[in-house]
Amino acid sequence: MKRIIIFSFFIFPLWLSGQSKYTISGYITDAGSGERLAGATVYNKSTGKGTATNTYGFFSLTEKEGLCNLSFRFVGFREHTVNLELKNDTLVNISLQHGIEIDEIKISAQRQLRGNPELSVLNRQQVDMQMVESAPVILGERDILKTLQFMPGIKQGAENTAGYNVRGGSADQNLILLDGVPVYNVNHLMGFFSVFNTDAIKSAELIKGGIPARYGGRLSSVLDVTMKEGNMKESHGVFSISPVAGRITYESPIKTDTSAFIVSLRRTFFDLPMVAFQKLNGDNYNFGYYFYDLNAKANWKLNPGNRLYLSFYTGTDKLFHNTRESKTDKSSYNYNWGNFTTVLRWNKMFSPKLFSNLALYYSRFNHQQTGKAESEDTHTLFKTTTRLDDMSLKADFDYYIQPQYTLRFGTKVSHLTFNPNIIQLKSENSDVSFNEQNSSNARQAEIYMENAFSFGRLGLNIGSRVSGYFTGKKSYIHFQPRFAANLHVTPSFSVSTSYTQMAQNMHLLTNSSLGMPTDLWVASTDRIGPQLSSQVTLGIAYEPGQNFIFGVEGYYKKMNHVIRFDEGVAFLNPKESGWEENVLVGEGKAFGVEFLTEKQKGRLTGIFSYTLSRSDRKFDALNRGNWFPFKYDRRYDISVLAEYMLNKLYNKSRSISVGFTLQSGNNLSMPDTEIEGMLLPGTDFADHPIAWQNRRFTYSNPNNFKMPAFHHLDLGYNIIKKKTESKSITWSFSVYNVYNRMNPWYYYKKDGKVKQVSVFPLIPSVGFKYTF
């Protein structure tokens, strides 16, 4: 049966391509900047057929010879129409002007033309960058990941951290891409801020169900973040400042309408006044902390069918402490972690129907602690290094065979190097390294095929991804079928379902107590295999008009080979044993229902989401092999994010924004039971047995204690003053945690007492942005 299905996938495209038609293809761009628009719709009013642009702004529509009345549309832009007599394959490049659509035309048809029409509104969520810019945030730092956490099914880890859990999965099960390159650590300052500088970001999309075959490598979700490409028409820039950091972004054509670049830098300035003060004070030490992000991108239109992109990102957190007692007597401590990614991409149009994206990328996450001490006689060094290198080559093809059928296929090969927690101790007499046996290399090869069908009201995506992971000692091959379907029963009402299997070849070892940069990415080995999951979803959506979206979706997810540290393991302890001896392998399951209400137009816009869910884990070596609640098993989650436009004039607009979250608390393992204990071997012989051994303190199951409900209300007020067409000033005022709820961030036990740590009280902030 499997062979018949595979055979059909190969024959079907040939059968469909046998009909004689012509293809209209091209790119849709922003007239103001030349940026390509992903998800713009192309609709032929003459035939009622249409399509949408892909991630790179490319579209392809095959029609019969004759008159075509084409409509090009995108949210926030004016419709553009083109009438042409189709006699041969035609290249049409369209630039859309900014503006508001003034009429609703075939809303349902437009809706069905959007990218990934087979996915429900709850499975695929486009992050509204306008919402990101206006949402009230802590200390004025806009953050895509924190705005995402208002969506149903997406939950934060600890309070105000960028790490998130999707549908009962753990944070490492989310694939986060920046221009197609995986970013392995998205946390600044223990996760309080993410690495994404919103001034440099064009769009972001999260898929958490029905994940198409072109994505792979993580179990729970894909967050696809795209950087701006650079303005091909004229120079522009943004300068912004918040209580935490300053940002500057500059974009400009290199050659008008041919090539452009963008550079964006963000840096905190906690350390600058501190170091200056310490120097002026004549202190013999200095200490401080800072982080920065640097994004850069350039692109060239070589010719109508070829375009090159070069992207680059680097970001680092640095904690430092230097002491100088004398000329020869000094010590230093540095704690750094950060990412480096770079990608060279080539978009090539092989034919009006065949588009390709070839990419070569490198991604690195590096985390290092260095302690040095020097005197006249001694030089000592303590250094720990964790590093993950990912070098990959991938090719993706979109083959627009028919308006109803698009075939996507591709391949990727990767070379991965893992160096988790390598410790070096060096002095005059010795040079010792630990954990070098933990280093490993692996190779990965993947191919996929996606068949995207659009039969009137029915959108289907049937595909599969095959991944091969080779550790040297063992090979893992996984076949991952993917299926998604969305049926518009009526133009406003749709039913959707999906089934996906995913494989994840790497694991993030994280201490269950805190989210730290010391979290270790490790490779699957011959002993610890890849994680696997299967997920099924079923949902309905109601979209009356263009203004509202109502959605309900249920899901069930099963996970295998999930790992965690063994009991008692502390990642800060240097250990001679490899990490494999310190982890447990088990299973997970999660199910729930998500509700979404979204208002997209009018003075008041925003979303209301509610999630009711459960997530459990099971490890043979824990809890006698019984299921127990996952740490981030939050039974309910209510989130509201809204913006109300007070007024919107040509040169001034004011709005207020509200963010509210109410969630049941995380789970912790907290001893709650006292029992009689047995003396350890030998102590029963002693005249004075040790008192603590007569008692034991334990809990009936891991994660037995649910922290109190977490809730906070944030308010924001934004004023945008437009000086000229291209210059504007934005003032943003926000208050985080308006009613000063001291949500518990962490619990720990010391000297028999339970201590609660809360971090975020009421925090007002103001931010300033100048666009030029």
């Binding site: 063994d566 008692g568 250990k575 350890l680 071997p681 005249d687 199951n701 201590k755």
Partner: protein, 289 residues
């Protein structure tokens, strides 16, 4: 704008203020039976203690249960019924046999039933010798104790501990033994630069035959000092469940003592179905020095 200076002051004072406070939780707790019983073929009496679990941080003592019926089965056949000695203590004058499977059942009218199973391990087969090292800086003659455990096929977990009498006072436990061997479990090893090997094991030393099954586990206990008083080294072969119980007890204690709260929490192991405690077995070989 007039309020700008106000906002600047607010900004400067808007820093992270972490707040720590002691909290008290009221946990729901249903008392359950806690059974502790370790079988040892070298002992002519089997002892069990039965009590109730209680909510933590309450001042009342642990309640013992003295009216339960406790039965022991050997390979499915009734081996004996424990007699009640009061104060939650029960005794059975029988000798368990290595290699046999034992099942214990407890029936309390008021608190229900619990049960557990275990297999009695074999006595460790050991050989040993002494090597004189020489005099140390205190002019004490030191020797090394060379020990070989002749492991049998099958999973075994050994615990090394000492007992002794010093000036009439009995002492014992796993502390104070320094050992460097590849089969020594590192779960409770912590780096201590002043120690002979740069580390020490806290509370007990566990030796695992994983990777050494059926082989000889050869190790040295270094730098011992001769004495006229009683002193012995013991190698205890723990059953699977007892082994986990000892290990989790030590891990829990280490977590309690740790300076930083970064260790994974530990649940004290129990193989008692529907209850707490441990039903395990061990066999001990002793080296009297």
């Amino acid at each position: 704008m007039k309020f700008k200076p106000f906002y600047i002051v607010l900004l400067i004072s808007a820093i992270f203020l972490s707040c720590e406070e002691e909290v008290f939780f009221s946990f729901e707790h249903e008392p359950r039976l806690c059974l502790n019983c370790i079988l040892n073929p070298d002992s002519t009496v089997i002892t069990a203690s039965l009590s109730l679990s209680k909510k933590m941080d309450t001042i009342n003592e642990i309640k013992t249960i003295s009216d339960a019926k406790i039965l022991l089965y050997e390979d499915g056949n009734l081996f004996g019924q424990f007699s009640n000695k009061g104060d939650g203590k029960y005794k059975l004058n029988k000798v368990p046999v290595a290699g046999k499977m034992y099942r214990i059942t407890v029936d309390s009218e008021e608190y229900g039933k619990v049960s557990a199973s275990t297999v009695v391990p074999n006595k460790p087969e050991i050989t040993w010798s002494k090597d004189t090292v020489g005099y140390d800086e205190y002019n004490l003659l030191r020797y090394n104790l060379n020990v070989q455990i002749h492991d049998k096929q099958g999973k075994d977990n050994y615990w090394l501990y000492s007992t002794g009498i010093v000036n009439g006072v009995k002492g014992g436990g796993g502390g104070g033994v320094v050992l460097n061997a590849p089969f020594a479990d590192t779960f409770n090893r912590r780096y201590e630069t002043e120690e002979k090997y740069g580390f020490m094991h806290y509370y007990q030393i566990r030796l695992s035959d994983e990777g050494y099954d059926g082989l000889v586990l050869d190790f040295i206990i270094p730098d011992l000092v001769p004495t006229n008083q009683y002193r012995a080294k013991h190698i205890l072969n723990a059953s699977e469940h007892y082994d986990k119980y000892i290990k989790t007890s030590i891990l829990y204690r280490l977590n309690e003592e740790a300076d930083l709260p970064f260790s994974e929490p530990v649940q004290i192991y129990s193989n008692i179905e529907n209850g707490f405690g441990i039903f395990g077995a061990c066999a001990i070989s002793t080296i009297v020095l």
